[in-house]
Symmetry: D2
Subunit: 362 residues, 4 copies
């Protein structure tokens, strides 16, 4: 594929997320076209493909590969269906953007990491942790790296969703929600998570009866930096994701975006984002545009399969900590392979991205 | 052109703005390709074209038209060179995105408006007033239209630039800077400007010696809504554009965007956008994407040539008010032609755009 | 009176303001006792005096003077009744805190100024412009005096009341409301007001039918610093008083006090002060405590009778400007007498008061 | 003592805190006079007494009692000297405002509680936990009591001091600093603390070498509401005390007070309070005024000796938790005696105090 030609993308899964990626690739991203929508539900497949002029529909990934030339694939199926798409995609050398989780277990994820290293000379799988593309997290990482306020000592994360869908279980607090902090903590601190503990405050009576939430999850990274994550998934008022970072000589806050401010009827304030879509929409756009740009050059520009694997490990240990109430230690199968270091050509890992404004410290 | 094919765009002018549009179309906009860069300065032309794989360079717009098929043109030359591009573009039925000003005089702009109506069955020229695509202004317009806080009575605008380039004259305060408020006031109020007056407070000693600024410009629209624009072009600290809107039963503020907040060394605060690029970058992206989408369907989706003409009229009267110190009345050559009404197919005029969140009033 | 004894205060007028001063002196101010409440309405007098153990009631100021030893007087009657209390108070050498206005005309106020100079060796009359004791205005004045951001070029004032009492007339916009900005502008700029102009935007339909408001009042001080005052007295949502100051190299905002912030039901915000009492309650306490402290030492520590006189002059010219629609010039009967200069012993004029924190410029 | 006469106060201890109370009683509090300063250091005693006209100095509390009539005592000595003043004060039926801690051990504090109940028919000892008089905490308590956002589930507290004095030890993190949260958590939640655990993140290298800080202290109250206290005592940037409260359907923030906001040199922000004096000065004034008012009527209006005792218990257990790293349970010697219930005449316990504004939920 010449870089003057658009990336030909198959979107696998046409649920809310996959369908939104079809729209995004078609309507807001430069350099890529959706050429196939893979989805066994014909009505869904047809509806999604209608957004992408020229895209075919297929019931399976293999059918799509047979029907049309494909350069890259976005995996947006439920997690347990990721591996059957990832394996043939890797084997054919396609660029991959895989929604989180990489797979549903650390063990499976490690197999993907091994397969990728065995079949490619550089990372081709990017995992859809979109928060790394949010301006706030990027600025916070840059502030830590600048050293302007000394070492990073502690992080307070609030992660609040308005309500849970039916059948939302306690372990889903971790696998579906806290998984984002599990990814972003190493991103912000530059260090792996080494231990985790879960605390359960008074239960929110507005949550389903069998769901003990909110919870506090305490993560510690290699140098001792401690992160407290408050996860609340029935907070009612809207969607809110914030991080307060405690440095040696300063504190930084992100996630308190401001839009129109209205003073009316005794109240001075503004709207709250109703869901992750409004809060992180720009991050999704940035994520996909940068993945397309990198994929056209044979690389990735975001979290790698290794990041997907380590997140799986930590999530599994965290669920164990939910059950044990004890401090649980995290161990990884191997040290991080050189293959996944950002110096590897094409694995940008968000190095040096974004605005470098670091607020009043400059 | 089929809607499944990308819009073939010629960018005329490869200065800072034109060159940025080449990058934008190529790297962040879906559905369009830059096929030609028109610029007599060969080095500039070559540098800009290098960002767009496959684009040719040409010394004149006519040369470009002869050399390659073109669907649409972005006009990014100095203002006095707009008309020689606009005329052949209209005559050939091309889609046009013309950076402000439409032309350098109200008289010339009116000729363009007449030519467009004579040669097309609907508006094809969109003028680059990008603020209409800023989320804040869209939310404020939606709040006014909702009637939630009653009628809009008054607007306070602050428009502050850090420093002026050499040879920045007093009339450029209006033609280069306040021109944005001249466009946005009718957008927000839904009414034309009918009179203007200029007040000159104590001069900023940090401005060039012959530049009397800041200035207050007072605009009144048809129903009596009054706008006070503070224009400061040597404010030193950064770039800031805000609007406070006074409704009958509430007040709304926009333009106080929040990014990372840092508490350090006795100060609690955040960075200021250094220039219009950081402040309105997302608005430019939105503007161009929506113009591309509309142009592929034969229309526009933003300010029309009529808006460009009326802005020229008001700007000319405002410069007269700068000199006279008196209240000056604004008159337009004709009433707004039905041709430019949003109900005309293709002239979206930003109707119903954007998030409808209106803050605490809901 | 020895400084070890409390100041014996007569409060003249037992309406809302006078009654509140009785409570304040008795319950929150050190070093003073209310010894007399002067009020012809017996029920009001008795109710107010009940808050001050040991205080007598009297139907007239003269009766109170005959009945009990008095060191100082707070004048809280309607404005047209101030002069009959001020004259005997000055003649007897009492300390005076006179609610605004000093008198109801510039001519009458000038007579008071002349009488005070003729009968006392230093100012004894303080006028109740309480905003000078608000922390925000004090910080803004200190910032201007520090020169940290260069000269002060312009001020945007918003002065918003929720609703008007019955019979509120157009001139009362000036005499009752804008009078506070008329006092605070010289305080902030260090210069007298030299001209004024009034602009009338679209009328608020929620205001009484014969009241044309909001209005913009444009004041210019001696060096050319321009102040725009937006006065809105039927703003519905609550009480809000803010000032934005435009310096040569920075901007400062005051009046956006923060209390508890609540995120709930899709809104992130906080309450608005319902009236001037919540907004300026601490300023009133500070004003009275400092007046008591100064009065026990024979002086004043706040706006003088001269400040009361000049405010009367500007208010009269502003009402003329409301009617004429033209720029009106302000002239004073004399230059400021040395008698009223802060260097005069006892006339503190708020020199060097308050926290010197000047925000991020340090 | 008649309520028309001022409360005659002895201030015991003329260090920074005691000396400031002499100034406060004399200069800003209504209804009280300092009649004696008790301090063995003659220079200190004389300097403090100079602020209070008519006050005598004494080397011991007994000497003061012999020398002049005393109604009330403020205890501002180091903690280990509190008991020798409290005992005779209680036995003589004096009103007492005792700076924290009540005594230096839970055992000693319990003896005071027993003595008070044995010798008085109602509480006469108020403990100087001034945060209860801070507007933010009062509003937060009122919001919880209103039930507007459901039950209170969790609290995030940040408690940051700029630097530590010499010889500041790890246990002082609890006894000197976190003691304020130990008092305020029961105040906010309406429940006693039942367990505590301490976590130690990465050490701040700017702290003294033997001081492991910051620390996270996790308190749980009776219903399971969990409080995380971040204590940082070498935060460098200034003094900051905030609380974020997580309710079932909303979140509330306090402690982010706003003063003048300055935009200058690329930064938009405001000053940080340098110490607890600026942050809680108004709370101290409110505390003392309300104590004086209550003491004149034979009661207290704030935290009682029981609150002082329970805080001592929790502080001792917390220091144990610092050392053990384990979850430690808190037990009290008895249930709360009816003697200390707010329904007891005179024990106001801040019931129903302060503004009831609860932000956007109204």
């Amino acid at each position: 594929m010449s870089t003057t030609e658009n990336l030909r993308v198959a979107v696998v899964g046409a649920g809310a997320m996959g369908s939104d990626h079809v729209r995004r690739i078609t309507s807001t991203i430069a350099g890529a076209d959706v050429v196939a929508v893979v989805e066994p539900d014909v009505a869904r497949a047809t509806a999604a493909a209608a957004k992408a002029p020229g895209a075919i529909t297929a019931a399976s990934f293999e059918d799509a590969l047979d029907a049309t030339p494909i350069d890259a694939v976005i995996v947006a199926t439920p997690g347990f269906l990721h591996e059957p798409v990832l394996v043939p995609a890797i084997e054919r050398g396609l660029a991959v953007l895989c929604e989180k989780p990489l797979t549903t277990s650390a063990e499976d994820s490690f197999r993907i990491v091994e397969l990728e290293q065995a079949t490619s000379d550089r990372p081709r799988i990017q995992v859809g942790f979109m928060r790394r593309f949010d301006r706030g997290y990027q600025e916070l990482k840059a502030l830590r790296e600048s050293g302007a306020n000394g070492a990073l000592l502690a992080l307070h994360h609030a992660h609040r969703n308005p309500t849970t869908p039916p059948n939302f279980s306690e372990s889903m607090l971790i696998h579906d929600s806290v998984i984002h902090e599990i990814d972003i903590i190493p991103f912000l601190t530059g260090e792996p998570i080494v231990s985790v503990e879960v605390k359960k405050p008074r239960r929110n009576s507005l949550a389903p009866a069998d769901l003990p939430e909110p919870q506090f999850v305490l993560f510690t990274t290699a140098s001792g930096t401690m992160s407290i994550v408050e996860i609340s998934v029935n907070a009612q008022f809207g969607y809110q994701v914030t991080t307060d970072a405690v440095f040696e000589s300063g504190v930084a806050y992100i996630g308190r975006e401001t839009t129109m401010h209205v003073v009316s009827a005794g109240v001075s304030g503004q709207g709250v984002t109703p869901s992750y879509i409004e809060r992180f929409g720009a991050a999704y756009d940035e994520e996909v545009q940068r993945w397309v740009d990198a994929a056209r050059n044979g690389g990735i520009d975001g979290p790698s399969a290794w990041d997907g694997y380590t997140a799986s490990v930590v999530a599994e240990v965290t669920v164990r900590a939910q059950q044990s109430g004890a401090l649980e230690h995290v161990t990884y199968a191997t040290a991080k392979p050189a293959f996944y270091e950002p110096t590897t050509a094409g694995a940008g890992a968000l190095a040096g991205v974004g605005p470098t404004t670091t607020g009043p410290t400059r």
